[in-house]
Amino acid sequence: MFVWFLALRYLVARPVSYLGIVAIGLGVGALIVVLSVMNGFLEETRDLVRGTTADIVVFPIQDGTTRVVPRDEILEVVNAQEGVAGATGRLVRPAVYKLHTEQGDRGRMRLPDINISNSENAGYSQVLVLGVDPDREMAVSGFTDYLRDVRSPDLKVDDVRFPFRIHPGLVAGHLRNAGLPRILVGEDLMLAMGLHKGEALDIVTLPDEISLEGGQGAKFASDTFVIAGSFRTGHYDFDTGHMFVMTEAFLDWSGTAMDVSEVYIAAIEGTDLDALRDRLDAALDEKRMYAEVKTWRDRHAIMLGAVENERTILAFVLGLFVLLTCTITFMMLVMMVQEKVRDIGILSAMGAPSVGIGRIFAVCGALISAVGGLFGLGVGTWVALNANPVKDWIETTFGIEIFRKNVYAFTDIPTSVHHQLNAGIVALTVVFSILICLYPAWRAARLDPVAALRHE
């Protein structure tokens, strides 16, 4: 009993003990906050990436050296695989666009008409145009949600089931009866450019093959598309860098011979995606359909890996900081043993066993780290759960910007508090503190009682 009694007395009587508790609390708290933010960032990034891509994507290699594989043949192979819930073909083509004006000509443009190297000055911006089959797309990706999640009511499509339809009354007068194809533009892009439903965009892309022989250059493929509405995935880069058109309109516009650029595959929940990828790869090879097959993790491995790596580095650095605070406890205990040499002699004279005397100091170390760890757990968890109010308060109070929304794809600091992980951090801190406090405890236990009693 004397072990706990004296350990508590020694701690309470020494203000420096509180310093150790605060130091460990700050270290643990900082580690918890950083890990929570990094976990939130990683999970949010993963969700965003996940929301704009399929479980698995097949990229047919159609580079002119292999035969052009028809979409339906690939879909037949893909749909035959166990674990595939659905699949759809997409066409993808990089393009430039600008707002259509009445003076703009509809039809093919010649190369000299625009300057690719200075396209923005020519009023063109870059985009990836996706040709999709709406019904199949809705079955495989979050396409329906993208349409529903649009926040501006006047930018929403007229009917989510038929997203490329638009009421003729909304189309600008001179375009109304031109039979123009429709396009869906990201809400962020529409707001940024001040676009409205019913307006039109001129979209230009390169044909499949470019011939510069005879100095005539290649003809660009171009068309004018009426904006039928917008979509919102929540991923800023995707929303401002992609546009959807229907497959038929895409083929008509681009003049491509291919009817599929990539096949989006939704897997049955619980399916091992890596195994399914390998099966698909083998099945396509067997049919002599050469393609790259990638899971969503494969496609974004570098970005997700970078975030994970950043999290690991920060955890490592802050882990070292926590260890440093533990060594403060160690030094405090070494000093405490030095100060309490006489007490150790007195306790020995009263018959206290040396193991018990050592345990007094081990318990001191354990209590400092445990209380400090719990303090850090409480503070860190609270800050992590209230990261945005705390950020707002700091920004308002000190007039500094600590989270730049235009740098990240998020409007708020994402956090994800993992209670088990945090409890593990506290447990490891306590265990490590106890381990390094064993040395001063051992020294206390080994003191010669006679020498201790004579200690000045």
């Binding site: 020694y10 007490d343 007195i346 306790l347 018959g351 009682p449 006679v450």
Partner: protein, 259 residues
């Protein structure tokens, strides 16, 4: 002394949590509490070895009061540390209440010291963070684990409180050593030494740090309690008057203990 004389006598029956000691009784001169034979202790000082104790022989009986005198550096404190199991002899043997101590482990010596021996030091040696009551109860706390202590805390604390009250410290229970006078501190140390009812009380210059009046009062209380409870008392002192009150006076000269 009136508070001491008026105080109720303490017994193991009154305090079931306290070990051992029977009710106060006439000292049994035949019961050997401590037998030391040929205790020798050497210390290395630089390249030479100095023999501080040279074959000290000593037998102490229950209730006996023995004073040990000698010049500074004659080995008195070393002998006391040997008798109190704080140090091991290089040669010789020491038997306490029939138990051969020279072969005991460190932990067993601690247990025996806690149960059978009480120390009173010249400089009190109280734990500064604790109150008088907490200091006094500490030997009992050391003897108990958490659960055992919680079960007996009431009776043990009551015993320590009564011991302090018996020594005139009823109003000083919650005072820390820094708030007590020298005499009060030594009485707290005396209460702490006696609370576990040890058979052997070892005092190292118990009045050496006190003024004459306080010394007399402490000595009265020390002898009174030892006689009343049948403790065997060994007292190292330079004070001839104090030593004269003992049953026996031993002299330590150059490490040799003589009657």
């Amino acid at each position: 002394m009136s508070d001491l004389e008026d105080a109720p006598s303490l017994s193991a029956e009154d305090h079931p949590g306290v070990r051992g000691a029977a009710a106060p009784a006439e000292p049994d001169a035949r019961e050997e509490i401590l037998v030391a034979r040929g205790l020798t202790r050497r210390f290395r000082m630089g390249s030479s070895v100095v023999e501080i104790l040279r074959g000290a022989d000593l037998t102490l009986h229950k209730g006996e009061i023995v004073a040990i005198m000698g010049r500074s550096g004659s080995g008195k404190s070393t002998l006391l540390h040997q008798l109190g199991l704080l140090d091991r002899p290089d040669d010789g043997e020491l038997v306490i209440r029939g138990e051969q101590t020279t072969t005991l482990s460190r932990a067993e010596r601690c247990r025996l010291r806690n149960h059978e021996i009480g120390f009173v030091f010249q400089f009190y040696h109280l734990l500064p963070e604790l109150t008088a009551l907490q200091n006094a109860v500490m030997p009992l706390m050391i003897d108990h684990g958490v659960l055992a202590w919680l079960a007996r805390r009431g009776s043990h604390t009551r015993r320590a409180r009564e011991m302090l009250s018996e020594l005139g410290l009823r109003e000083r229970l919650t005072h820390k050593p820094s708030q007590l006078s020298g005499g009060e501190r030594q009485r707290v140390a005396l209460a702490r030494a006696l609370v576990g009812q040890p058979s052997l009380l070892l005092c190292d210059e118990p009045t050496g740090n006190l003024d004459e009046t306080t010394s007399e009062r402490i000595a009265d209380q020390l002898f009174g309690l030892a006689e009343r409870h049948g403790h065997t008392l060994v007292m190292v002192t330079h004070d001839a008057d104090l030593a004269a009150r003992a049953d026996r006076i031993l002299t330590l000269h150059d490490g040799v203990l003589t009657d």
